[in-house]
């Protein structure tokens, strides 16, 4: 098999999981005949029928809310929200129900839904099509948050998410959807949730990133001895992986697209400031979006952390 994109890898994961388990059902807007606005579910309705790949009304709250009931009943809904900017209508269902049903019923019920949504900056779309709001979900107990960065881990992580017993918010960096290609085994492999990966080994700077920013952070690393960690699961954090690396390098830079204030970079920084401060040789830097609304196409490139901004951070920590 040739190299495939993340879109294709996710399609493959969905198809395989639907084949494997008749409980798996896809629901969302335009996921059926149209195959999704990014064509991620292309061909699946033909293969599995309209009972399993279900076009819905325009109803994010209703889709996520009913997925909770489906999951509690015992089927496995994989929800597609067309863009992350439209998940907000479903936040109450996620925060007040999906993430709490197990606790509220002391284990009698649970809502292991998967909510997939394209996310992040970089495709010059209309407003609210570039949200990078992962931090909201990372603060809420009871959900898992996953971001793939390559076709290989996209397939393996999504399969794990579908088999997981907790609700999983699966964020697909839309900028990477078709911009990277790689060989992806047709086997039934999984990539475990909750484990980060060392994307590139190094000795002097620990860099933590995910999704699109992982690749930017790696490009910017030329000339620096960076250990780059692909977080992959944003919640729960693989604390050990981060701490281990920082204890070695003594320097930490976190790179993300979202606004710096209260972004996930803060949690990673705080973890280190709490657990490994004595190893730090330099301030912990966060390269992130400014405290501002994510702009439309014309200004998009200015908002998103670029190679130069990332390199500056590497340079700065290396001054110490």
């Amino acid at each position: 098999m040739g190299k495939i994109t993340i879109v294709q890898a996710i399609n493959m994961a969905l198809s395989e999981e639907m084949q494997r388990d008749t409980n798996v059902v896809i629901i969302g807007e335009d996921v059926g005949k149209d195959g999704g606005v990014f064509r991620v579910t292309e061909g699946l309705q033909e293969k599995f029928g309209p009972e399993r790949v279900v076009d819905t009304p325009l109803s994010e709250l209703g889709i996520i809310g009913s997925a909770i009931g489906m999951a509690a009943y015992g089927i496995k809904p994989v929800v597609e929200i067309q863009f992350m900017g439209f998940i907000y209508a479903g936040l109450e269902q996620i925060f007040s129900h999906a993430s709490r049903l197990r606790s509220r019923s002391r284990g009698r019920f649970s809502a292991p839904i998967v909510v997939r949504t394209p996310y992040g900056i970089g495709i010059k779309p209309p407003e609210l099509h570039s949200e990078s709001a992962e931090a909201l979900f990372c603060h809420m107990p009871g959900v898992k948050v996953v971001v793939p960065s390559t076709p290989y881990n996209a397939k393996g992580l999504l399969k794990s998410a579908i088999r997981d017993s907790d609700p999983v918010i699966f964020l697909e960096p839309s900028r990477l959807y078709r911009s990277i290609k790689a060989e992806v085994p047709e086997d039934d492999y999984t990539v475990p949730l909750g484990k980060a990966e060392v994307y590139q080994e190094g000795k002097e700077i620990t860099v933590v990133a995910w999704g699109t920013m992982l690749h930017r952070a790696a490009e910017a690393a030329e000339g620096f001895d960076c250990e780059i960690i692909d977080l992959m699961t944003l919640k729960p954090l693989d604390e050990e992986a981060i701490l281990k690396s920082v204890r070695k390098t003594g320097r930490l830079v976190v790179v993300h697209e979202a606004s710096k204030s209260g972004g996930l970079g803060a949690e990673i920084s705080a973890l280190v400031a709490e657990e490994a401060v004595e190893y730090l040789k330099a301030p912990i830097l966060r390269v992130a979006g400014p405290e501002a609304v994510i702009p439309m196409a014309r200004l998009e490139d200015y908002y998103m952390p670029g190679k130069e901004r990332i390199r500056k951070a590497y340079e700065k920590v290396m001054l110490y």
């Binding site: 059902v25 009972e51 819905t56 009304p57 109803s59 709250l61 209703g62 889709i63 996520i64 809310g65 009913s66 997925a67 909770i68 009931g69 489906m70 999951a71 509690a72 009943y73 015992g74 089927i75 809904p77 209508a89 109450e92 269902q93 007040s96 129900h97 049903l101 197990r102 606790s103 509220r104 019923s105 002391r106 284990g107 009698r108 019920f109 649970s110 292991p112 107990p141 009871g142 898992k144 997981d164 017993s165 907790d166 909750g194 729960p236 954090l237 693989d238 604390e239 050990e240």
Partner: protein, 353 residues
């Protein structure tokens, strides 16, 4: 202008306030069924009265009384099958008790103990939903899954007139209509949402007429007439099981007590209004009906009351003797497996066994 659609809103009553019934509409029920209904009503009322006094004594926390709504809750709950799924709001004690939910667990819940909401394995009863109206989509999803699995089951979801104003209501009814899901929307219109009267909740004359907007059947029933509620629910359930989709049932009833024990309804509603409704309350009417049927004797009533009190007292004892919850439970049920941080926290807080 052309007329391209016409709708009538219907109202179902079987037993009127004088206890006189419309025999043509009477569900086929034998004496034991009727007695079971009566006994459940008494049991619920006893549970409820005791809950109110326990609250006053500080033995349970804030409690939401069901007084006045017994017909709407019990009538509908008894019309469903054992395997059906129930999605209650916080005011559905009567529904749960009708389904055999252990009363001691309900008391535990109102004592502020999550374990009270862990339904027994053989009861498909979701935890009570505190955020008003948010449970409706869950019922639609479960109903979707029932249909998907070809289980001939029904999901019944309870909510109030207040709940009907929330977006969740709209999206749930619309999705159910599109999916033709076997779900029954049991709107408990008790005329008040805390201090907000029905007329301020919406400008629509009835809530049943909302159904038209989703292409599904809707009906208003006399929610203080337990047989009318029973019949409407049964019909909706039969239709749902037959693949004909959802129904909205507006049970027109009244909240006779304060909103909860933390509320003081005299701040916002007239005493006379409450008194008027007290004369229409469901137990009064069902008693008259039983009397006309020759099923009501003084001894029987006393016996039922006594048994109810004994049962409830035993449940209270059980609830109060139940060991306190383990603090580790706070963390333990959050995820399926503990996360690294949760493990650390269990240790740090000294909650690990």
């Amino acid at each position: 202008m052309d007329i391209i659609g016409s709708f009538d809103v219907k109202f179902l009553q079987i037993i009127n306030e004088a206890g006189v019934c419309d025999a043509a509409l009477l569900p086929s029920m034998e004496a034991p069924d009727l007695k079971k209904i009566f006994e459940t009503m008494i049991l619920v009322r006893t549970f409820n009265q005791r809950a109110l006094s326990l609250q006053r004594e500080g033995r349970i926390g804030t409690y939401a009384s069901v007084l006045g709504q017994e017909a709407s809750q019990i009538g509908s709950a008894l019309a469903l099958e054992k395997d059906d799924w129930i999605f209650p709001s916080f005011r559905e004690s009567a529904v749960l008790i009708s389904r055999g939910y252990p009363m001691w667990m309900l008391y535990r819940y109102w004592m502020g103990d999550e374990r009270g909401m862990k339904a027994p394995d053989d009861m498909n009863i979701f935890p009570m939903s505190v955020p008003v109206g948010t449970q409706l989509p869950h019922a639609v999803g479960a109903a979707f899954a029932m249909k998907y699995r070809n289980d001939r089951r029904v999901a019944a979801v309870y909510f109030g007139d207040g709940g009907s104003s929330r977006g969740d209501f709209h999206e749930a009814l619309n999705l159910a209509g599109v999916f033709k899901s076997p779900v029954i929307f049991l709107l408990q219109n008790n005329q008040w949402a805390i201090s907000v009267p029905r007329a301020r909740q919406t400008a629509a004359a009835t809530l049943a007429q909302r159904a038209f907007g989703y292409g599904i059947p809707g009906i208003q029933v006399d929610g203080n007439d337990i047989l009318a509620v029973y019949r409407a629910t049964k019909e909706a359930a039969d239709r749902a099981r037959g693949g004909e989709g959802p129904t909205l049932i507006e049970c027109y009833t009244y909240r006779l007590d304060d909103h909860t024990t933390a509320d003081d309804a005299s701040r916002y509603r007239r005493k006379e209004e409450v008194e008027e409704w007290r004369e229409k309350e469901p137990l009064l009417r069902f008693r008259l009906f039983l009397e006309k049927k020759g099923l009501r004797t003084k001894e029987y009533e006393e016996e039922v009351a006594k048994k109810a009190l004994e049962a409830v007292d035993k449940e209270i004892e059980k609830a109060e003797k139940f060991p306190p919850p383990d603090p580790a439970d706070i963390i333990r049920y959050t995820n399926f497996e503990l996360t690294a941080r949760q493990k650390t926290e269990l240790k740090e807080f000294g909650w690990e066994k």
